[in-house]
């Protein structure tokens, strides 16, 4: 029974890794840019969800609260948060990444800029909102189902389903739609794409919208599952999701989802079998081993160099 409980736990936490890893991989797949601010965009998403929710609920002493029911609040919060979070992502791209790209800077300078942008989001939040943590209101009546010693909450099920649905949606967009084709095209040749009459910047902005709104969605689900918000909440999970995306084969949507779940299973598996103090040591050694055996990740294709 303990085994099934662990599997469920791994599925749930893996879903978060996967959702965030999807954002990394989308942007990477198009721009070859590691958007290190992504973990913090996720954090901003959670905070936006918080403010939207308490505004609508009228909780926590917000006088202007609309006093809506929790269910209705949730229904409105999800799309609003996704839109607002994608705005944050697009702002970063417009104000910081695009000018650098235009100047032809080395790709790693854009990566470092992303890292700095993440720090600004974290510490700006700390400076503006203070060090107090925020408690996310309960928008969904929690139901715990127990089957012979295995406990599942309705939220866990929603999170896992959401990860799978988002994966399916993104896979559809990228492989079956015109805009997805353009996205894949950019990753092959950034210079040829504008010549084909495809608006490069529009596609890039679309990618950021897609990636950041997924971070926003992950932010809401995370805030509902772990209802304590703090400015640094996105840092660690962001790094780990990045690792998951790379282990899966960065740039490939299947890789992100598999990498995310894999990391969830490894981490929880190590805790389940070994003393939990060894978790990081073992989990990262396993990942190192995987990359040793498959140097371009699980789904990554080795770039063939023509001489």
């Amino acid at each position: 029974m303990e085994f099934f409980q662990h599997v469920l736990n791994a599925l749930q936490f893996g879903s978060f890794y996967a959702l965030i890893a999807l954002g990394y991989t989308l942007v990477y797949g198009v721009l070859r840019l590691i958007n290190f601010a992504h973990g913090d965009i996720f954090m901003v998403g959670a905070y936006i969800a918080y403010f939207v929710a308490i505004m609508l609920l009228g909780a926590d002493g917000v006088a202007a609260g609309a006093g809506l029911s929790p269910g209705l609040t949730l229904a409105i919060t999800v799309p609003v948060t996704m839109i607002l979070t994608s705005l944050v992502g697009v702002t970063l791209e417009r104000t910081m990444y695009r000018p650098l790209r235009r100047k032809g800077a080395d790709r790693l300078y854009v990566v470092i800029t992303a890292l700095m942008a993440g720090l600004i989001l974290e510490n700006g939040n700390l400076a503006l909102l203070g060090a107090s943590r925020k408690s996310f209101p309960e928008l969904l009546q929690k139901v715990v189902w127990t089957f012979g010693g295995v406990s599942v909450t309705n939220l866990k099920v929603i999170v896992i389903v959401a990860a799978v649905v988002v994966f399916g949606l993104l896979q559809f967009i990228v492989t079956r739609t015109k805009i997805g084709m353009a996205m894949r095209g950019i990753s092959y040749d950034k210079f040829a794409i504008p010549l084909m009459g495809i608006p490069l910047d529009t596609i890039i902005v679309f990618t950021f919208i897609l990636g950041s709104s997924m971070a926003g969605l992950a932010g809401i689900l995370f805030a509902m599952s772990y209802p304590i918000l703090e400015p640094y909440m996105g840092a660690l999970i962001g790094w780990k999701a990045f690792i998951a995306a790379v282990v899966g084969g960065i740039g490939d949507i299947r890789g992100a989802i598999v990498g995310g779940f894999l990391l969830g299973f490894i981490e929880i598996g190590v805790v389940a079998v070994f003393p939990s103090t060894l978790r990081d040591l073992f989990a990262f050694s396993v990942l190192l081993g995987i990359l040793w055996l498959k140097p371009t990740g699980l789904f990554g294709v080795a770039k063939t160099t023509k001489i």
């Binding site: 700390l126 943590r133 840092a235």
Partner: protein, 393 residues
């Protein structure tokens, strides 16, 4: 053109360096300067913020009365805050800056042992008294005559929790969940384990699990703990993690009680944890609910000013700062020379045998570590921390 930019940059850099070398030559009037070496950013900003708030309140109090009276003369207080970013090297730099640039008489902080141990070394080497409000690691004050602290040590708190839980829950077995990357949490967890196994026999700590500092998911550890069926779970963790741990344990079907440590003692615990925490016990420095006298006054005023009930860090900072101020007063005079002043303040600090703080009475025995009583509180249905038992060494 491009070279021009570099040259301008280099010039700016040179200027910045020059300006930097010239900073920090202040003048001293009839003021007493005390430095604060706090974790305002980094991993635990809330701790630094609470310390700063408490200190500000104390300063306003005393300055409103015209200042601190030493040897018949009133001196205004000036508190200098330095952020140590919750980093060891930054804490040393902050301490050295306070000592050599800001010319403070004494330093309060850092709070966390990771910063307090190296900063304590710097203060001791430079003969400046330092009081850490919150550090519980024995190394902070060990062999350092200039370093003091206001908190009790882990080896005292561990047994308090073990004894209380055995009695209250009638427990035979226990489980522990702690933060591997936090020396406070790990130290307390280990002392608790030794103490419990001494009492109830080997193997009665049925699960001993850890997590990382910024983790938010504890389901794997809790699944193992729940499967081991302990009579209660000891969680020597920070309050923000406690809130998540208790919620997740309940989701996994655990119905038993929890026992906590002083790091639970924050007003935020209840806003974050809500009804799930009601009825749980933890050992701490003081009980906010039902507090009397100076303690109550402090809590009420802090609550009014900053809109939340103060954490133990705030209360301990208050005590630590008052301890230093008392030493300054007992020294009887304020020396012009900062080095002599620090010396007499340290000697006065070392001479304090008993100090009535708002976190209880502290007795010093020349080691810089206080003996003080711990209290065990229970979280009431209104979310107040109600006094349950007091344990004195």
């Amino acid at each position: 053109m491009k070279n021009m930019t570099v040259k301008v940059l280099l010039a700016v850099l040179a200027l910045a360096l020059g300006a930097f070398a010239l900073t920090g030559c202040g003048k001293d009037g009839d003021v007493i300067k005390i430095g604060f070496n706090l974790e305002l950013t980094g991993d635990i900003p809330k701790v630094g913020e609470a310390s700063k708030f408490a200190a500000e309140m104390l300063k306003e109090d005393i300055n409103a009365k015209g200042g601190l009276e030493v040897g018949g003369k009133k001196y205004k207080l000036e508190f200098v805050y330095q952020d140590n970013e919750a980093k060891a090297e930054s804490a040393v730099n902050a301490a050295l800056k306070l000592i050599t640039q800001d010319n403070v008489v004494a330093i309060i902080g850092p709070n966390s042992s990771k910063q307090a141990i190296p900063a304590g070394g710097a203060c001791n080497d430079n003969q400046t008294p330092m009081v850490s409000p919150w550090s519980t690691n024995p190394d902070t004050t060990k062999d350092r005559p200039w370093v003091f602290r206001a908190a009790f040590l882990d080896p005292f708190q561990g047994p308090v929790a073990a004894n209380f839980a055995a009695k209250q829950f009638g427990a035979k077995t226990s489980a522990v969940l702690f933060d591997i990357a936090n020396d406070y949490s790990k130290g307390l967890a280990e002392i608790f384990k030794t103490e419990w196994e001494k009492k109830s026999g080997a193997g009665t700590v049925v699960a001993f699990e850890s997590h990382g500092t910024k983790d938010q998911d504890f389901s794997a550890q809790l699944t193992k703990i729940v499967a081991a069926k302990p009579d209660f779970i000891f969680v020597p963790d920070n309050y923000n993690q406690v809130a998540l741990i208790i919620k997740q344990a309940r989701d996994l079907g655990y119905k038993g009680p929890f026992m906590g440590s002083d790091a639970w003692g924050s007003a935020e615990l209840m806003t974050l944890c809500g009804k799930e925490c009601i009825g749980q016990f933890f050992s701490t420095h003081y009980a906010a609910a039902g507090a009397q006298g100076a303690t109550k006054e402090f809590i009420d005023r802090y609550n009014e000013k900053y809109k939340y009930v103060p954490d133990d860090v705030a209360a301990l900072t208050w005590d630590a700062t008052r301890l230093v101020l008392q030493a300054i007063q007992e020294a009887g005079k304020v020396e012009k020379d900062i080095k002599t002043e620090r010396k007499i303040v340290r000697d006065a600090l070392a001479n304090i045998k008993e100090f009535a703080g708002i976190t209880g009475t502290m007795k010093f025995h020349g080691t810089g570590d206080p003996d003080k009583c711990a209290v065990v509180v229970q979280i009431s249905p209104e979310g107040k921390f109600e006094f349950k038992e007091s344990v004195c060494p």
